[in-house]
Each structure stands twice: as C-alpha cells, then as structure tokens.
C-alpha cells in the first residue's frame, strides 16, 4: 500500500506543476510571439519568459525523484 502512496505522491509532484507550466506557457507563448513580431530585440526576454514557468515542472521532477528515491521508496 505504501508503494501506491509513494507513486501517487511522485506523480502529483510532477503532474500538477506540469499542468500549471502548460497553462502558463499557453498564455505566455502568444504574447511573446506578438511582442517579437513588433520588437525582435526582445529575444532574450522571450527566452526568459518562456523558461520561467518551466522551473515549476523541473523542480517538480526533482521532488518526484526525491520522493521515489527516499529510503523505503
């Protein structure tokens, strides 16, 4: 039973941030594309803006790994 809970916790740890990242990027992407069409020099800002929400899922991935690899996991 403990195995199920650990798996569920790991899945939630990466799944929820992934959904949040997807939602954030779906809003940022069109805005960035529109901005770049008018001001191509905003390329660096575009990279940063798109990479910021990915932090959530990346840290979620790290946390999920740590949950799975904890003693008894």
């Amino acid at each position: 039973m403990q195995y199920v809970w650990i798996s569920l916790a790991a899945a939630l740890a990466i799944g929820l941030p992934a959904l949040c990242t997807a939602w954030a990027q779906s809003r940022i992407g069109p805005a960035v594309a529109a901005s770049l069409a008018e001001k191509p020099q905003l390329g660096a800002v575009a990279v940063v803006l798109l990479a910021i929400p990915e932090t959530m899922v990346i840290l979620g991935f790290v946390v999920a790994l740590m949950i799975v690899m904890r003693p008894g996991g």
Binding site: A44, V48, A51, I52, I58, L59, F61, L65, M69
Partner: protein
C-alpha cells in the same frame, strides 16, 4: 574609449575632414557639447537636402537593379563618374532590367501555360484532323471516373440535334478522355445547352489566344511554343550582359552614395563658426593615433585633435564596444540578446563563454550526441557571418558534451555500456541522481557567488553601499552553505554554530547596506542557487530518453522496426537536447547570473565608416 574634439577649417569639412574621418572608420561622432555665441549647429542646407534626396534615390534604384541582376560581373570598383551621371545611369539601368525581368516572367508563364495544355494538343489535333471545317467544333475533357458520362452526353446531343453531330474520343494519360465534338453551325446553341445538361465543360481557352474555341487556339499556341525557348534565352542573355556591363559600376555607385549620406548625417552633429568646425566623437584609445595621422594627411597642420579630459564626460554617454579574445568573440552574440552593458561595467562575455557550454555539456552529456553536435557545428563554422558564430558556440557546447559524456560514460545513453562496456569516469547519471543534483547545485553556488563578487567589484567606485551589500550577501550564502554541510555531516559538526552566529551578525550589516529588502535579496540569491537543479533535471531526462530509445530495439517484435523506432527516438531526443539545454543555460545566465552584476543601458559604438554590404550603419 577616449573622447576627442577635432577642430579644423570649415571650408574643408565636407571635402577633406569628414571623408578622412570616415576612411579611418574609428570615430563615433556625437553632438558637440561646446556652447559659444559663434558656434552654430551644422545645418543641412537646401542644396545638401537635395543631394540627400538624390542619393537616396540612387541607392533605391541601384538596390532594385542589383536585386534583379544575376551575380555576374566583377566586384565594386571606385565610382569615378559624377553623381548626376550616376543617378541617370542607375535609373535607366533599373528600368531596363525591370522591363527585361517582366518580359522574362511573362514568357516563362506563357511557356508554363502551353506546357499545361500540351498533353491535350496531340489528342485533339488527331481527333479533329478530318472533321468538317465549316461546322462548330468543341474540345471537351471527360472524366473516366464517371463511366456513364459519355452515354449521357451522346443521349443529350441526340435529343438536341438528332443525328447531326460527330463525337470522337481518345483516352488521355491519367483519368481523363479527350473528346472532339463537331456540329453544323446552326445547331451550336442547342449543343451548348446539351453540354450544360450533361454537365460537360469545354476546355477553357487561354485569354491570350482569344479564339472562339481550343480547336482554333491550338495551332496558334503551337506556333508560339516553337519560338518561346529562343526568346526566353535571348532575354536572359540580355539580362546577363546588362549585369556584366553595369553591376560593378552600380555596386561602386551605391557604396559612394552610402558614404556620402553617412557624411551628411554626421554633419548635423558638427558645430561651426563662420570659418571653423568642431566635431566631437568617441574613439577607442588604441585607434586615436590612426585618426590623428589620417586627419594630418588630409588637412595638414590646419587640423587639431584634442583629447577631452575624463572629468569633462561621464561614463553614461560613452559608447560600448566589446573587446574579447578571438575564442570568446562568438559568445558576444549571446550577450547582445540583452540590452548592451553600460560603459565601464563588467563585460560578461568571458564568463558566459566558459559557463554556457559547460552547463549545456552537463545537460546533454553524451559522447554520441556530442560528436553529432560537433560535426554540425563544424559545418556551420565554415560558413560566414552569424552561422560562423553559431558554429563556434555549438562547437564549444559539443566539446563539453563530449567531455561530460566521457565523465558519465554515456554513448547514446547506455548503448556504449551495452556494446563496448563503457564505464563512467565520474558517475552514471542514470543511477546517481543525488550526486548529480549536488553537482548541479554546487555549480550554481559557484556561479551565483561569482555573479555577486562581480557585482561588488563593478559597483565599488560608484555605489559603495551596493558593493558592500553584494559582498555581504555572497558571504552569507557561503555561511548558509557551510551550515547546511555541517548539519548534513559533510563538514565537521563544529562548523554549524559559528556559521549561524556569523550569519546573525551579518544581518544588520546587510540591512544597513541594502535596506530592508536586503534579507529578501539573500533569500532570492539562495533561490537562484537552487534553480541550478534544472541542470540535473534536464540531464536526467535526456539520459532516460536515450535509455528508453535503446530499449525499443528489443521491445517490439521485429528488430528492424525496433531499430528504426530507436533511431527516431534518438533523433527526437537529440533535437530536444539542443533546445532545452540552450534555453535553460541562457536563462541561468540572464536571470540568475547577470541579475547580480549586469548593468544595462550602454549605447552601441557606431563609428562613421565606409559603407559595405554587412554594414549596420544607418544612412
């Protein structure tokens, strides 16, 4: 950078001084700051305004003609003719080139049209060769996919004109049948109604061969088609000859026009008395002697170049020029994504040149992918311009991928281990996740600390308190690290209490130096260090994808299909392995690293220089 002031006789400004300054290509002109009742701004007189308009037209005409010309003809020489003659020449050449281009385009379209109809020609000609010449003829195309169409057509015609029609058919290549229908002239209206009833359309006649029907147009089209290749060739030859004769001249004329426009634009920055001119500008310190020598050659002793003392100008107005060793220069392109750094602040290019490929290599970290990346980088590096810079950056990233690939013992994931018994020199990313996480965060700690130290150094002269604040945050980040290491048993436990006491003692200093937001800055710096965990996350994801790709070979029934799937998966992983690490390595620099010291707002160094096709100088 040095700010210089050039003084000379006004009557020689446009004829000698500005051309000489432009020829050296080192002076970035700026508006003169001297104020004196006698000094007036160099105004654009009506004559100069006319000249500027004329030069703009010359450039437009030359650009349009050169865009049409095939690249035949020598390189640009020096334009020796006068500008009025050049303007007339550019206009007439452009008009001739445009007319030839239009004619060539029309001929090619006509040939394409005839080619489109050519498959019908032979069929219709054979069918209509012995038909009655006095009747009305219709050329039809029937779809074979509708088997009852021919019968329906015959029935409709029979109803309309009885036995007085002749319908001949012949299959065409593809799914169509050519049909020729001949009827007496009086029956034509009834036949056309019958055709509409049977839903059969006559082959449309191209408007340029405006006969009544295709039967009449075909002979004309055939006659025209015979002469088309020769005419197209003749027009093409004429365009080539025009290019051969005039392209070098137009290139030279365009360059001369751009150079003159550059001089006229610079004129608005010059201050003048009735007899003298004053021109201020920035010049790299190493180039000052070059500028002086060029001006002396052009104007003799009539010119004076004065170096303005540092106190008379501020850093904020000085333009910025990157000056890096050749190895680091391609990475300036990555720094240029950001607004330019202010003059006198730290140029982050050398740090980016070391850490960016290192982070990339840690994330990709595979001998196979690294080798492919190096090969692609080499192909790009051999080209010119931006591709060369991208090739150099990709080459560095590929080299680090190879190095870390050897450390992690990866060749297309675990394929190297399976086939050749490859072992990691450091640790396997597939298994040692925690050591990889520690390595990533440790690198982040070094990177963020370096950023804080650079921030302290760059603001030590202008903003002492800020410099102290950055230094204190750096020390506190180290103390937090020591405390965590002591707590986790990596350092002796005795380090814990002193580091906590030192941390508490540093808090008031931090608040004094950075204000109440100081502790938040500290927390942000610690958060930034943790952000480097993404290196481990992306690296692990990359190796896991490669391992999954390798397992596909045995997972599906056929080994060949499995190998194909594995190749496809590796390709996807490689592409993802290029994009993800690039974006995240850039983000780690732009946000976590640059945020500690980077000071934007610099003006670009844009010297007045001879125009060339790569020039970004706006004229």
């Amino acid at each position: 950078m040095t700010k210089v002031r050039i003084l000379g006789p006004r009557d020689q400004l446009l004829t000698f001084a500005l051309p000489a300054v432009q020829q050296t290509g080192v002076l970035h002109p700026v508006a003169c700051t001297v104020t004196h009742p006698l000094l007036a701004t160099g105004e654009i007189t009506p004559r100069l305004a006319r000249l500027r308009r004329s030069l703009t037209r010359v450039i437009e005409d030359a650009d349009r003609a050169l865009a049409i010309f095939p690249e035949i003809g020598g390189a640009a020489a020096q334009w020796s003719g006068g500008l009025p003659r050049g303007a007339r020449l550019a206009r007439s050449i452009w008009r001739r080139a445009a007319a030839l281009q239009r004619e060539e385009q029309a001929l090619l379209e006509e040939r394409a049209l005839i080619d489109k109809y050519s498959s019908f020609f032979s069929a219709f000609q054979a069918l209509s060769s012995d038909l009655a010449a006095d009747g009305a003829g219709y050329c039809l195309v029937l779809r074979r996919s509708d088997p009852g169409l021919l019968e329906r057509l015959r029935s409709a015609l029979h109803n309309a004109v009885g036995e007085g029609f002749e319908l001949r058919t012949r299959p065409l290549p593809g799914e169509e049948t050519a049909a020729v229908l001949s009827v007496p002239n009086p029956a034509a209206p009834a036949v056309e109604r019958a055709l509409a009833e049977a839903q059969v359309e006559e082959v449309p006649v191209p408007p340029s061969y405006g006969g009544r029907s295709l039967a009449e147009a075909i002979p004309r089209m055939l006659a025209r088609a015979a002469g088309l290749p020769a005419r197209i060739d003749a027009v093409h030859q004429e365009l080539q000859a025009l290019s051969r004769d005039h392209r070098p001249g137009l290139l030279a004329l365009r360059k001369r026009a751009h150079d003159l426009l550059g001089q006229i634009e610079a004129l608005s920055l010059v201050r003048m008395t009735p007899r003298a001119f004053v021109l201020d500008g920035w010049v790299p310190e190493t180039k000052r002697a070059t500028l002086l020598a060029a001006l002396r050659d052009a104007l003799g002793d009539a010119v004076a170049v004065e170096e303005l003392e540092r106190e008379k100008w501020t850093d904020a107005t000085a333009p910025v020029v990157f000056s890096n060793p050749r190895l680091f220069r391609p990475f300036e392109e990555l720094v240029r994504f950001m607004p330019l750094p202010r003059y006198g602040t730290v140029d982050p290019t050398p740090f980016l040149a070391v850490f960016f490929p290192m982070f990339f290599g840690l994330m990709l970290g595979d001998l196979g992918y690294g080798a492919i990346l190096c090969a692609v980088a080499f192909l790009l590096w051999r080209r010119k311009g931006l591709a060369h810079s991208i090739g150099a950056i990709a080459g560095a990233c590929g080299a680090f991928s190879l190095i870390f690939g050897a450390f992690f013992g990866e060749l297309f994931g675990d394929l190297g281990h399976r086939l050749f018994g490859l072992h990691p020199l450091l640790f396997s990313r597939e298994e040692a996740l925690i050591p990889f996480l520690v390595l990533a965060v440790a690198l982040g700690l070094v990177h963020v600390l370096l950023g804080l130290v650079l921030g302290a150094i760059s603001s030590v002269h202008a903003h002492r308190r800020e410099a102290v604040g950055r230094g204190v945050i750096a020390v506190m980040v180290v103390l937090v690290t020591v405390a965590i290491l002591a707590l986790s048993g990596i350092l002796p436990r005795g380090f814990f209490t002193p580091s906590i006491i030192a941390l508490l003692a540093a808090v008031p200093v931090l608040v004094v130096a950075e204000g109440l937001l100081g502790p938040i800055e500290l927390l942000a710096a610690l958060g930034n260090v943790l952000s480097y965990a993404r290196i481990m996350a992306l690296g692990t994801a990359s190796v896991m994808m490669a391992v999954v790709a390798n397992r596909m070979v045995g997972a599906v029934g056929s080994a060949a299909v499995g190998a194909l799937l594995a190749l496809l998966f590796h390709l996807v992983n490689f592409v993802l392995g290029l994009f993800g690490p690039t974006i995240h390595a850039l983000r780690l620099h732009y946000v976590e690293f640059f945020g500690k010291f980077y000071s934007s707002g610099g003006a670009e160094y844009r010297p007045l220089r001879p125009w060339n096709t790569d020039s970004t100088q706006s004229t």
